[in-house]
Symmetry: C2
């Protein structure tokens, strides 16, 4: 299948919108085609099926997001600043696109195990990025040397993720990005060498 | 509808098993009836529909769980010990019942908004319990006085929850309860007055 081009991007963006609005299970391929302004058959030039659309949109958006974060991280040398960049970009990205936030916090949490494993393989890229920050912090002596990297990653991701889900469930009615600072402070305190 | 009795408990336990095994969407009421060893019609004496079964089983199990935790918490005066009790009981409860863990980590994460709001209303009881520990810790001067209670609760719940989901996705293959201690240490460090 093709993986590039204007139509590919158009279909991905239409899928985010349709899935956020109708839920994954009620998002027929024909609905996505209509929203994208392409023929149903066109979708199948790019995607095998609806599942493939869901996983691909996550892969696509996550790939770009990780690239952007990595660029920002490279420009900062302090470990505290790197962690703040990660938290801020995570919250900003979802605050500026409510449909994407509904997709990440509700629709990607599929319980079908094969589908979920494919989704989690994509998430792995982001979790590995979090690990590099933790490892660097330990190496530099900013974080405790006996931190369990896996549990620390689960705390960082789990905290940010829960903050975002609450905000989605409260229909995005307060400012999410303002929460960067207190989240950053608490996470640093959890990890910092005393 | 009736809310008590041996058959009620039987249906609830059968529902946990059937939903964990087949997924909520493929758990027809008739499958649950068969597993419980009751007639289909009997289920409707107790529950309006499948949705009602899902919410009720969560309500029932969560109610008992909160009661048990509250009893344990009452027997401990130190705030650090109270937090450890909460983490330990959460992890123990799910480690000892894999079906329950699949239900809490995968099947209760429904994206349909009305259903999810009913589920989250039940979860609220547990989150309020976490809040009482945070508030007591602040009052006693063990935790920082400027902690944001909501974000702190999101960190505590989000961290434990992510630890459990990882373990479920890894098919329960390592010991979950051993993670109490490092999770407890990190959370305390995040909150403790310095
Ligand atoms: C639309 C897109 C928008 C993108 C841009 C937006 C920007 C923001 C980003 C938003 C992010 C939100 C995305 C939504 C994600 C949806 C999915 C969720 O629900 S997420 C929320 C829910 N969370 C999830 O669903 C995540 C669930 N987690 C997972 O599925 C996996 O961790 C993984 C696949 C992610 C990584 O797996 P892996 O690479 O394997 O790495 P591990 O370290 O896990 O494990 C390594 C090995 O260690 C073993 N081990 C571990 N602990 C212990 C222990 N204590 N003792 C002994 N052993 C232990 C373990 O068994 C394994 O060994 P083996 O089994 O291979 O032999
Ligand atoms: C089978 C059962 C086994 C049981 C025993 C097993 C033992 C272990 C336990 C396992 C637990 C796992 C259970 C699985 C749960 C499934 C559900 C999930 O996915 S959980 C994982 C995913 N997590 C979720 O799905 C949880 C999502 N959260 C929620 O849905 C809600 O927080 C709530 C319903 C839980 C509580 O709601 P509420 O009582 O309202 O309390 P809030 O504090 O949230 O809000 C209070 C007010 O403050 C406003 N506000 C907040 N922040 C800000 C701010 N920064 N600036 C300004 N304002 C802010 C906010 O808008 C609200 O005002 P208003 O809107 O009323 O005017």
């Amino acid at each position: 299948a093709k993986r590039k081009g204007q139509k590919y991007d158009q279909i991905i963006d239409a899928a985010v919108k349709v899935i956020a609005q109708n839920g994954y299970h009620h998002s027929q391929v024909s609905k996505i085609a209509k929203e994208a302004g392409v023929a149903d058959g066109t979708i199948y030039l790019y995607f095998k099926n609806k599942e493939d659309i869901l996983v691909s949109l996550f892969e696509e958006k996550m790939g770009k997001f990780i690239q952007k974060i990595e660029e920002e991280l490279a420009g900062e040398s302090s470990i505290e600043a790197k962690l703040l960049i990660l938290i801020t970009m995570h919250l900003m990205q979802l605050q500026k696109d409510h449909s994407l936030a509904i997709v990440t916090q509700l629709e990607l949490r599929q319980s079908n195990i094969e589908l979920r494993n494919r989704i989690n393989e994509v998430l792995k890229g982001y979790l590995k990025l979090i690990d590099t920050i933790i490892l660097l912090g330990i190496e530099k002596g900013v974080f405790k040397e006996d931190l369990d990297v896996r549990i620390t990653r689960q705390m960082i991701f789990g905290t940010i993720d829960e903050v975002v889900t609450d905000w989605v469930m409260k229909e995005h009615k307060y400012d999410l990005v303002q929460l960067c600072e207190p989240v950053h402070t608490m996470l640093l305190n959890a990890m910092r060498r005393s």
